[in-house]
């Protein structure tokens, strides 16, 4: 059963999403060469608590950090360790906040460096990140009441493949609210016929995620037991927003002021 949120709950999630976006923007500012991942995580945790929330990811059994940070071929669930960001790295930052009983979740990928430095995989990085951002935008647009989860998945797959990249099949977006991961699962590709996927209704809150890789989307679990990466160094991107389904246009609860998404 996909939980439908009440008016009161929606208000709380709107507030939570706004605060998470504020924290996210602050942490993004210090993602620069030489910065240690642990420091980013500590800052994120500090700011989340300051905003009156609690880091969502710490509620996941066995995970003791506020963020997941993935470098280059890391896809998701990267543990923030002592690694220092280098010029030319592709960094994905994923963060969640539990505010007044409700989770919100968001993620962005960015390339660290100045235009003159060498990007990994030969200079086509702007296209890579652009594809992800576009896919998320289009996916949110498709997330209207009376559409189905399959519509969202199909759109993500279409935009990513059209740009020449591959959506990751084993990882999905998800409903979000009282729990960090709720129903439904929202894959980045069309896994079954659209008619067989759940219908979207107003009041649903979804964490729509675009997870994709440069070439082959194969995955492997790394030595630390959490980080999932591509086994052959293929770069990967991650974009995520928490979205509220309404009768009309969906509302992005975790809208980053730096990147306004117009539906």
């Amino acid at each position: 059963m996909i939980p439908i949120k009440t008016e009161k709950e929606i208000k709380l999630m709107k507030e939570g999403g706004k605060r998470l976006a504020l924290v996210f923007a602050e942490v993004l500012k210090i993602v620069k060469p030489g910065v240690c991942l642990k420091k980013l995580d500590q800052l994120a945790e500090k700011l989340v608590i300051k905003q009156g929330g609690f880091p969502s990811f710490k509620t996941v059994k066995g995970y003791h950090w506020a963020t997941c940070i993935n470098i280059n071929e890391g896809v998701v669930h990267g543990i923030p360790n002592d690694y220092r960001i280098k010029e030319g790295d592709l960094v994905s930052l994923d963060m969640g906040m539990l505010y007044k009983g409700f989770h919100t979740d968001m993620a962005r990928t960015l390339w660290v460096g100045n235009p003159k430095s060498n990007p990994p995989a030969g200079g086509q990085n702007p296209k890579f990140l652009k594809a992800g951002k576009e896919a998320l935008r289009a996916a949110i647009k498709a997330a209207r009441a009376d559409n189905r989860v399959g519509h969202v998945s199909a759109v993500i797959e279409k935009v990513i493949r059209r740009a020449g990249f591959s959506p990751v099949k084993e990882l999905t977006g998800h409903g979000v609210g009282k729990e960090l991961h709720e129903e439904p699962q929202i894959p980045c590709f069309l896994a079954k016929p659209i008619e067989k996927t759940p219908v979207l209704q107003p009041g649903m809150t979804l964490a729509i995620e675009v997870i994709y890789a440069w070439k082959k989307p194969d995955l492997v679990l790394a030595n630390d037991g959490w980080t999932i990466k591509t086994p052959h160094g293929s770069l990967s991107g991650l974009f995520e927003d928490t979205v509220l389904i309404t009768q009309k246009r969906p509302i992005i609860l975790t809208d980053l002021e730096m990147k306004p998404i117009v539906c």
Partner: protein, 72 residues
């Protein structure tokens, strides 16, 4: 945080055959996993030997173990 929907499959090469249908498999990024043979492969009597290229399913609960699900 991203939800994991299905098990992660990796490709690898069988390094060593151990007793009880267990195998050491070297996967794409160089790591060696202790794997067991999937029931379906046992049922259909598909033989796996050192040197075979196989597909291994990884469990999110242990990064050193796997389940051989396919032989090329």
């Amino acid at each position: 945080m991203v939800k994991q929907e299905s098990k992660i499959k990796v490709e690898g090469v069988v390094i060593e055959a151990l007793p009880n249908a267990m195998f050491r498999v070297k996967i794409e990024d160089g790591r060696i996993l202790l794997c067991h043979l999937a029931g379906k492969m046992r049922m259909y009597r598909i033989k796996v030997m050192p040197g075979d290229k196989v597909k291994v399913e990884m469990t999110p609960y242990d990064e050193n173990k796997g389940r051989i699900v396919y032989r090329e």
